[in-house]
């Protein structure tokens, strides 16, 4: 092969490689938005799934708290009933008389003292 032909081959090869690089760079540049869109889509999908998981998790929590609330409300009602039962005046009187030895004050032993309004201190708000 003549040296001129070899040179011309080399030039052509170099030229085509440069073109190839340029082409690849161009393709890369073209691919970037697609890649970005893909990443965004995946991120979106992951966010959607995460959100869904969170909703489910929170729903379970709400359900658990609801059931806890209902159970506490029931307990509160039961305790209200128990308090009302224990405060029954018959029971209170039996304990007061039987266990504590208390007696009803005779009419003369009880004085109702009318509460007089005390004058307000100087400077105090009316």
């Amino acid at each position: 092969m003549a040296p001129g032909a070899l040179k011309s081959d080399l030039v052509a090869q170099v030229t085509s490689e440069a073109a190839l690089h340029r082409e690849m760079d161009k393709r890369k540049r073209d691919l970037l938005p697609v890649l970005l869109v893909g990443v965004l889509l995946v991120a979106g999908a992951l966010f959607y799934v995460w959100q869904h998981v969170q909703v489910v998790r929170l729903s379970y929590k709400v359900e658990r708290l609801d059931s806890e609330r209902a159970s506490l409300a029931k307990r509160e009602r039961e305790l209200t009933l128990e308090v009302a039962r224990l405060k029954s005046l018959r029971r209170v009187e039996e304990i007061a008389r039987g266990q504590l030895g208390m007696v009803t004050p005779a009419p003369g032993q009880l004085y109702l003292i009318p509460v007089l309004e005390t004058p307000s201190r100087p400077g105090s708000p009316e």
Partner: protein
């Protein structure tokens, strides 16, 4: 040779195609009928097969006294049911359940062996029993469902007022019945799903809720109610009476502060008591009021200015003839002032004043005071009493009615009438519910005092009050007197009509006392009625002391100060520490 051996493949294909096509057409046609034509009916049938709706009871509103104390409360409890098809050893399961539920083993065993898909074992069990069943496992086929149950934590307290509810949580008596629409409860529904084997799964969350329920705030005061019940019971025991009633109302407003009857019952177990024990005698029963009715006669005579307190009447030495019938006094009275007629409860004197009034005039006052018609108290079953028209009166009627016979009144009517004398002449409607409130405490409906009409003037009210105060100070009502308070009232001892003989019985009486305190500004009007006392025969000796005890406790509780003795002055003592803190 087999079918089609000589047939070409094309013909076979056509044959198969036609076969499949016609089958498909048949299926399509059937599907059309099932899915489109008969869809509604079949869907309903399917729903009926896999879905069961179980009616359960919903929670009712709470009933409070005037100070917010719970008198009736609904609490969620468990009900036990079984699906017999799932139970492998009914005998064994029945024995376990019977021990917890205190039921006969054979009874449960019979239920567990039935061919029904669902049976109640016991509804509304105690929390401890539910815990014991839960601790068991519970056995397959035995389930618990939450239901509401009404409790009356104060047991017998105000039983006749509160009433009670049935198994379905609907009010059957008293305020529970009267305000059933507001208290709510009733039924809610739980939906269950049944599988192919008939097993049903009930989810308490899948509920068609009951109607909203509201709370009631009563005019009743728990402390006064308790005092009344205690004193009534003691009086019944002392006098060996068969029955009795006490009512306390605020004479200015008509608010019922307490109402009690004997015999009484525990509304938690109402079905263990007779209907007689559950009857609210204070509003549903009528009786002849006897001498307490002389208050009405006196009010009419004073209002008409026919008599004055100092006018004198001859007591006829204790007996008077009216249309051929002799009416006696318990004492041979001579001359009495009108005031003394009331103080000493003279029948002769009362009849003479009644005759002055005349039929028509007296009848009008009786009706104006509310007798012969319901007071309108918010309780079911109130009686109207009986007051005959003047044209139906016999020759003796005017005399009889003047001393409280030949009229049938309810205790609440008499107390409402006497309250009119106490408050300056206004007939007020007695009532029991102050407010209906939502679960958030918001007031849905409020009830205020209702004046029905003026029946006597303020002047008559004051004159009559002074006379009735005399009846307590100097007359038959001495035992109703209170240290430090001015009391007005009237005793009554009315003979009961003996149905066997058609005459008034000498042994059977109704002893009563009606009065109010303190006279200068009445806070309490009280009626005490003791039916058929065996000892302490007179109203003054058995009913008046109950009035005194109830009034004494109630006034102390309401912090109504007594009239102070002259020369004694109470002032607030302020300690040195308190001064320094100031």
């Amino acid at each position: 040779m087999p079918f089609g051996a000589h047939q070409s493949p094309r013909r076979r294909i056509v044959f198969l195609f036609l076969l499949l096509a016609s089958s498909l057409a048949l299926i399509t046609a059937k599907l059309y009928f099932l899915q489109i034509k008969q869809q509604r009916g079949l869907a309903e049938r399917a729903k009926r097969q896999y879905q069961r709706v179980l009616p359960l009871t919903g929670e009712r509103g709470t009933i409070y006294d005037r100070n917010g104390k719970e008198l009736a409360v609904s609490v969620e409890v468990a009900s036990v049911f079984a699906q017999p098809s799932q139970i492998e050893r009914p005998g064994e399961v029945a024995a376990k359940l019977a021990a917890i539920l205190n039921l006969p083993v054979h009874e449960i065993s019979k239920k567990l062996s039935s061919d029904r898909s669902f049976v109640w074992i016991q509804r509304k069990i105690e929390p401890a029993q539910a815990q014991a069943i839960t601790a068991l496992g519970p056995p397959p086929g035995i389930y618990l469902l939450p239901e509401a149950k009404r409790y009356y934590p104060k047991q017998e307290l105000a039983a006749h007022l509160l009433g009670f509810v049935g198994l379905d949580e609907k009010g059957l008596e008293g305020l529970e019945f009267q305000y059933d629409d507001y208290l709510g409860g009733g039924s809610r529904e739980v939906i269950g799903y049944q599988d192919a084997l008939g097993r049903v799964v009930y989810k308490a969350e899948e509920v068609i809720p009951a109607l909203p329920s509201y709370d009631l705030e009563l005019t009743i005061d728990e402390v006064i109610q308790y005092t009344v019940e205690k004193e009534l019971q003691a009086a019944i025991r002392r006098s060996r009476a068969v029955a009795g009633s006490v009512i306390v109302i605020d004479p200015q407003t008509g608010e019922v502060l307490a109402l009690a009857n004997w015999p009484t019952f525990n509304p938690n177990y109402f079905n263990r008591y007779s209907s007689s024990a559950r009857r609210n005698r204070a509003t549903d029963d009528t009786y002849e009021p006897g001498s307490t009715f002389k208050v009405i006669m006196a009010a009419a005579a004073l209002e008409e200015r026919l008599v004055r307190p100092q006018d004198i009447f001859f007591g006829e030495n204790g007996a008077i003839q009216v249309a051929g019938l002799t009416i006696h006094d318990y004492y041979k009275f001579g001359w009495l002032t009108f005031q003394q007629v009331l103080e000493q409860s003279s029948n002769v004197g009362a009849i003479k004043v009644g005759l002055l009034l005349g039929k028509r005039r007296y009848y009008n006052y009786i009706r104006d005071f509310g007798f012969g018609s319901r007071t309108g108290i918010d309780l079911p079953g109130e009686a109207a009493g009986k007051v005959r028209l003047p044209r139906e009166w016999s020759a003796i009627s005017l005399g009889s009615i003047s001393i409280g016979q030949e009229v049938a009144v309810t205790p609440i009517q008499l107390l409402a009438a006497v309250s009119a004398v106490a408050n300056g002449g206004f007939l007020v409607k007695p009532y029991l519910v102050r407010a209906i409130k939502g679960p958030d405490g918001k007031v849905l409906k409020e009830f205020s005092p209702m004046i029905l009409r003026r029946v006597i003037s303020d002047e008559t009210s004051q004159i009559l009050t002074a006379i009735l105060e005399g009846a307590v100070k100097n007359g038959t009502g001495k035992h109703a007197g209170l240290e430090g308070y001015r009391v007005a009232g009237k005793t009554g001892t009315s003979q009961k009509l003996d149905r066997a003989t058609g005459h008034y019985s000498r042994q059977k009486v109704v002893a009563s006392f009606v009065g109010y305190v303190p006279v200068e500004d009445p806070r309490l009007a009280i009626l005490v009625l003791i039916d058929e006392p065996q000892i302490f025969f007179w109203g003054g000796s058995i009913a008046a002391p109950v009035f005194r005890e109830v009034a004494q406790e109630a006034l102390k509780y309401l912090k109504v100060p007594p009239v102070q003795k002259a020369g004694v002055q109470l002032v607030k003592r302020v300690s040195h520490e308190a001064r320094r803190l100031d």
